[in-house]
Each structure stands twice: as structure tokens, then as C-alpha cells.
Amino acid sequence: MSNQIKLGLGALGATLFASLPAWAQEATTEATETATETATAAAELVPYVYEKTVHNGDVAWMSIATVLVLMMTVPGLALFYGGLVRTKNMLSMLTQVFAISSVVCIIWVVYGYSLAFSYGGSMDTYVGGFSKMFLSGVDATTLVPTFTNGVWLPEYTFIAFQMTFAMITPALIVGAFAERFKFSSLLVFSILWVTFIYFPMAHMVWWWGGPDFLAEQQTLKLIAEAAGDTAAAEAAAANLAANGLIWNWGALDFAGGTVVHINAGIAGLVGCILLGKRVGYGKESMAPHSLTLTMVGAALLWVGWFGFNAGSNLEANVITSLAIVNTFVAAAAAGVAWMFAEWALKGRPSLLGLVSGVITGLVAVTPAAGFAGPMGAICLGLFAGAVCFWFVAYVKNMFKLDDSLDVFGIHGLGGIIGAIGTGILVNPALGGAGIPDYTSVPGTLQVGAYDMGFMLTAQIKAVLFTVAFSGIGSFILFKLVDLVMGLRVKEEVEREGLDVAEHGERAYNM
């Protein structure tokens, strides 16, 4: 399996050379040699020249992937959450998810994209700048790099794809404090949260120059070093390191395990602790009002997740195929694991357990989608499904935690398992795709050497950072909104239901 993937990457490199006429012939020969040999041959290096090629297939795939992620949010997540609350709060869930998505959509093009994906000057390690506010400088001709040398994507496509991620992440949080959060405060909180937590996180994890920029700077550095020009070599080295904080740690996050899931999971945990339990929690029945709709929502999430995970490859190539297989099998494995665990320990296999397991598997495979092999993804799914079941069914009750729809138990914990698991399963010896290496042989993608100690350290550092950043940041934002406008609805509103009290309508007039 690992050989096949390596071959896949090799074939990818070969195709690239064919598509890069500007590449010097001698460089092609060097590309087959090892990194050290390249360094010694640096004197013969010519500056890396590349063309930006846009493939129609990539644009088509990414357009579909983008709307698939929108489908995850509305209607997928909205229905998944909506079915899990009581009848009197159904519309509040649908409205919250729909409203947050719409508001963040606008914020994204106004300043969100700029904060996440533009150069941030002295703060570049942590957050982008304001140079692309109102999509300034972006037009139909501007391109962004993908993960393959010479292959670029229209910037509009990238903006739209990443927009859907920014839209779904704050919407994920609302499940943790469902049935009791004041709508006006929620909108304010979501705007603050994406601004101060999500955009910087996206920048720290995903901001990098792209393969062509790295190849160019690496080549310049080698040439400068060979020529003894230390100033130029240092400048090139600085450019090579001009990435987001977590990217520079070497942490792998294919589709947003840290940025989306751990981030939202921790914010949800902080939120549900600060808000406290729902009125009547533990005394009254808070059974889901429609598991049918929850199943519909979960199924839409599963389908949409192919856009989320495989789309994160930004191209339609072999890694896209791998991410699609992984997204299938990890979800199924976690669903099966949750179902059997529940069957064995609680006596019955429940639909809610099964679909919760599937979502857990999708969360866990998110950072691993393009890195793990399919068998690795199954193991990841089985493990995440069983552990998250145990947490949700037992540990949560021990702490009397009213994380209403298990945002932490599924997204937070599942995301942490996925992030750390990615560091193990990326190992080619375990069937993983290996660590992408763009600089050993500038201009072609190599599979880097796997060092488990380094990888696990990087992944755990990324997890701990995200937990701390999201935890402390969200705490401050919740407190701020609470001081100014209050977080929670009045008790009588909660008893009456948010639908009628806050939105003036009912989900079902029958």
C-alpha cells in the first residue's frame, strides 16, 4: 500500500516535469538524486523558474467541493442539531446555524480572508494583515498555489472554498449550549470568535508560500550559499520560514482537525461550562425530538465531508482519491465501533449512536484524510468511535456537563484523537502517504523521512496550542459578551422554548 502511494507521488512529480518546459534539463536529472547530492551540485543550480498552470479539472472539482461543504452546514449541520433538541427549540437551532453561516460569509470577504490568508507583516507568524480587505487586489486573474509545483488555482475558488470552512466552524459550537443561548449575543459572539480565534488559527496552520515559492527560495538559498553570499542566503532562509506558527512546527492538518474541530470543540466546552446546565437538566426528559431529521442531517454531513476533506487537497489528483477513500472508511469504522460499543455496554444498538459514531469518524479523519492510508484510517475510526462513545456515555455524566449536543465529546475529543493519530498514521511503514517534502529536491514533491518522535511532538504541540488558544480566547470572548449583553435567555424563555420567545414562530404548526 505504501509503495503504491509513493509511486503515486512519483508519478505526480513526473507529470509535473512534463508540464514544466521552463525547467532546466539538468535540474530534471538532479531531481532523481538525493538531497545531499543536490546540495553538492548547487553550483550548477539555475534559479527555479516556473509557470502557473490552472487545470480546468481542479477548478471544477474545487467548485463542487465548495458547495458540498456548504451543504454540510445548511442543511446538514442545521438538521443534525435541530433533530437533537426538543420541539420547542427546533427553529432556534436552524436559525442559529443559518444565521451564523450567512454573517460569517460576509465577514470572510470583508476582512476574514485577509486575516487568514494574507501576509501579516511583523505578526505574520500568528495572523494575516489587512492587505486583502474587501478582496482588494483579487480578481479573475489572481491565482493561489496548490500542493503541486506549477499547479495553481483561481484565487476566487480558494476564497470560496475556505469561506465555507469559516462558516461551518462557529456554527459547530452552538450545539454545546443549545436551547439556552440568546440569539443576539450569539451573533456578536460568533463575529468576535471568527475574528480573534478562527482567522488567526487558520493563518497559523495553513499559511505558507506554496510549493513553487519554497522551491524558488530553496534554490536561491543553495545558489547563495554556494556563492558565499550569506545575506542572500539568510533572506531566502527567512522567506522559507515565513509560514504560520503551527505550519512551521511541522504539524500536519490536512483538512482542519485543529482549525475547525478542536477549535470549535474547545470553544463549545468553555461555553457550556460558562452558561451552565439547561433548566431541568437531569430531571426532565430532553430526548431528541426527531432522530429522523438528525439522521438526514448526519447523512448530508457525511456526503458533504468529501468536499471538506478531499477538497482540502485543492487539486483533483491521487491524494484527492486517497482522501475520498479515507473519508468513507474512517466514518464507517467509527459508526460501527460506536454501535457495537453501545450494544455491548448499554444493551441496544441505537441509530443516534451509529450516526454520532459516523460524525466522530469524519472528525477524526479530517486531519489525516490525505496522509493516512485506508487501513490506518479504519484503525483511526474504530479508535475514535469507541473512545468518544465512552466519553459521551460515561465521562460526561460523571462531570454533570451539559454539552447539549456533544460538541466537545465528538468534535473536540475526536479532533484531538485525529490530530495525534495523523502523526502516527502518516508513516509510510503504516500505509501512510508520508510527509510532503518540497525543499530537498526543489521543484518536485518528495516523501520526507518519517520520524515518529518529531511528528508526534509536532502534532501534540499543535493540539495543546489549539486547546490553549481556543480555550483562553473563547473564555475571554464569552465573558466579554456576557458582561455587555448577557449570554443566556431568561428562565421563562427557556421554559417556553426559544422558537416562540426569540423568533416568534414554531417549527411545527400541526
Binding site: 426528559s285 430526548a287 448499554k346 441505537s350 459521551v392
Partner: protein, 112 residues
């Protein structure tokens, strides 16, 4: 006239209706209800949150018949709705003072 109120298992409704029609009952009111008696409820589990469901679904029949038919109706319901398991239901018989048919203004036994 007697008002016969019976709480029975929902799946027995059709069988009871047929049997009562056969002995000459010409109308009844049916309501879906929840309640508890000797039959204990059950437990539902949603992601580890366990809820004891104490009220079980039943069907409530309300039948007004002439005094002469009353005992036969009670016996028929009792026989038809019986499954020999806990939760088969209860039958109550009350006196009715007066009855009017809305369309014609007929009263008492004639209104039934």
C-alpha cells in the same frame, strides 16, 4: 344510559371496534393518550442520557350506550382487548344523565 371509558392497548383498537360494531354499538370516541397503571414504563437512552419513560401510550375509548347494552359492551371490550399481559388496560362505567343528537334534536336513547 351508561358512559363506558376504556383505556386499551393501541394495537387492539381495530379488533375492539369490530367486535363492538358486531354487537350493535353505533359510535365511539377515540383519543390517543399516555398513562400509567400496573405496567411499568421503559428506559430510553440517547447518547448515554437515560430517560425513564413512565407514561406508556394507550388508546382511550368513550362509548355511550343504553343501559341494556352496557354489560355486553364491557364484556366484549374485556374479552377482545385482553392479551393476558400487564398493561391491557381498564374499563370504567359511569351514568349518563342526558344525550342529544345535534342534527335532529332527538334525546337520550334515541340520540345514540
Amino acid at each position: 344510559m351508561k358512559l363506558i371509558i376504556a383505556a386499551i392497548k393501541p394495537f387492539k383498537l381495530e379488533e375492539v371496534r369490530e367486535a363492538l360494531t358486531a354487537i350493535g354499538v353505533r359510535g365511539m370516541m377515540v383519543t390517543e393518550i399516555k398513562g400509567f397503571g400496573s405496567q411499568s414504563g421503559h428506559t430510553e437512552i440517547y447518547r448515554g442520557a437515560e430517560y425513564a419513560v413512565n407514561f406508556v401510550p394507550k388508546v382511550r375509548l368513550e362509548i355511550v350506550v343504553s343501559d341494556a347494552l352496557s354489560d355486553q359492551v364491557v364484556a366484549t371490550i374485556q374479552k377482545t382487548a385482553k392479551t393476558d399481559k400487564i398493561g391491557d388496560g381498564k374499563i370504567f362505567v359511569l351514568d349518563v344523565e342526558h344525550a342529544v343528537r345535534v342534527r335532529t334534536g332527538e334525546t337520550d336513547d334515541d340520540a345514540l
